[in-house]
Amino acid sequence: MDLRFEETSKQYVRRDGGTIDALAGINLAVASGEFVAIVGPSGCGKSTLLLLAAGLLPASGGRIVFDGQRAGRPLTALVFQEFALFEWRTVLQNVQFGLEVRGMPAAERERRARDFVRLVGLDGFETRYPSELSGGMRQRVGMARALAVDPAVLLMDEPLSALDAQTRQLMQDEILGIWDRTRTTVLYVTHNIHEAAYLADRIAVLSRRPGRVRAVVPVPFDRPRRETLLADAAFGRFTHEVWSMIRDEARTAMRDEH
């Protein structure tokens, strides 16, 4: 399913009654089955954009359009930076959560949850609790939980940012593999340009607050992508190009924060 932001804006009301413009008129179209990364300087409203798409926050202006909606299918599912797993549930029970909430019969949802646990490579860990898993494994549970509900669009909010650098690298390949098998439409927020370039079909570059789309850059590398791509000179040139679009804004944003 494709997803379009049309002049989507978001203002927050401050405690003192003033308003903060988080997003100003976002226009972005994501095609069905496409992997789009959103990068931008810190505080540019990247995560707000995902919360709007997930329907967890109301937009202040404009609209968000989902096309080709299939009956009974949730529009979105979120994967969180901090995993947001339910610590009192096993891996299998965590993955079942979205199905349970939607009233799927127990036997069916367990079968489905097992499939998705296998998809993210956690078979054998079904009865473990999140506290017994490493960070990378926890995030796989987060992905399985989101994918199990068969969302029209998978929204990923800095899913690898809480992981160490090596795990992050391995998880990028993991995400590519999973996406290759599901071909879900993905909207992927990250501050890491290498990650965006490695994973995405296109990169939407946001400006600093109030965020707007500065540029949408197609990623020129063929799939399937392998780790060797990271050592490629063309990859370095491309990421540098994207970085140079953000650099000045990031500097200003950094100064604003102090």
Partner: protein, 270 residues
């Protein structure tokens, strides 16, 4: 990685030590044995007169006698019955009020000042009033225990639910969970550890109150047995009663612990 990236290294390794309750088993058993031996030696040497501190052996003998005459079981039955009724009613009401005040801001606005005003009252001070209202039977004793058990559970549950990580609530909502589903599937289970801690507090409070109430107004129960033995200077019996209370306290804590573990279904606490 030359880009702006934040790296948080997580440490998952836990030291392979046994839980605190199982470390140094010899030292643990030894401490109790040492106290008993010192006690026996002191009384055998007649350092203190037996009327103030009888020997462990005579306390043991008294326990056996109490048990064989049935006095122990009658007293225990009366006390445990009151605790069960009072603790059950009080903690059930506490759970209900705590959940309501935890999930609903208006309910919290109603409950908060009332709880803050009544909580600091030593509950035993309410016993005369409760006797006035409910008569001199079992009802006022059960009621004072219920009031005592209510507050820790209500306050603990309320703050536990309020403190559930908002991210978890957001995650549940992102999957389309209704308000009720968020409460039942996220806020309640996330609160279980703190709710059980407050139940343990309430159990301790119940024990305290049952003994106090029985010392003030009862003709049966462990509290009555202890007070009566004291009046007659039957010190062995008095200490035997205190030991029974100690066991009762230990059992209630162990029982709640077992219930909590069952609730968690063997969840590893990390």
């Amino acid at each position: 990685m030359t880009s702006i990236s934040r790296e948080v290294i997580t440490f998952d390794a836990r030291p392979p030590e046994p839980p605190a309750g199982r470390r140094y088993p010899l030292l643990r058993a030894g401490a109790i044995v040492a106290v008993l031996v010192a006690w026996q030696v002191m009384t055998a040497a007649r350092v203190v007169p037996a009327v103030f501190l009888p020997s462990p052996a005579s306390v043991g003998t008294e326990l056996v006698r109490l048990s064989s005459t049935g006095d122990l079981w009658r007293s225990l039955g009366a006390s445990v019955g009151r605790i069960a009724a009072g603790f059950g009613l009080g903690s059930a009401a506490g759970l209900l009020v705590g959940v309501l005040a935890g999930v609903s801001r208006p309910a919290e606005a109603v409950a908060d000042p009332l709880i803050a005003a009544i909580y600091p009252i030593p509950k035993i001070a309410l016993l005369p009033l409760l006797i006035l209202w409910l008569g001199i039977g079992e009802a006022p004793k059960i009621a004072v225990i219920a009031v005592g058990a209510f507050f820790p559970v209500a306050i603990g549950t309320m703050s536990a639910i309020r403190d559930v990580d908002p991210l978890l609530v957001r995650a549940a909502r992102s999957f389309g969970a209704t308000r009720l589903q968020v409460i039942i599937k996220v806020q309640l289970p996330a609160s279980v550890p703190i709710v059980f801690a407050s139940l343990r507090l309430a159990a301790g409070m119940s024990l305290l109150l049952v003994v106090s109430a029985e010392m003030i107004a009862a003709t049966a129960g462990i509290g009555y047995l202890i007070l009566y033995a004291g009046d007659l200077m039957q010190t062995s019996r008095l200490i035997a009663g205190i030991l029974v209370l100690s066991v009762l306290g230990l059992l209630s804590t162990a029982g709640l612990g077992a219930l909590e573990r069952r609730w968690f279904g063997g969840r590893a606490r990390g």
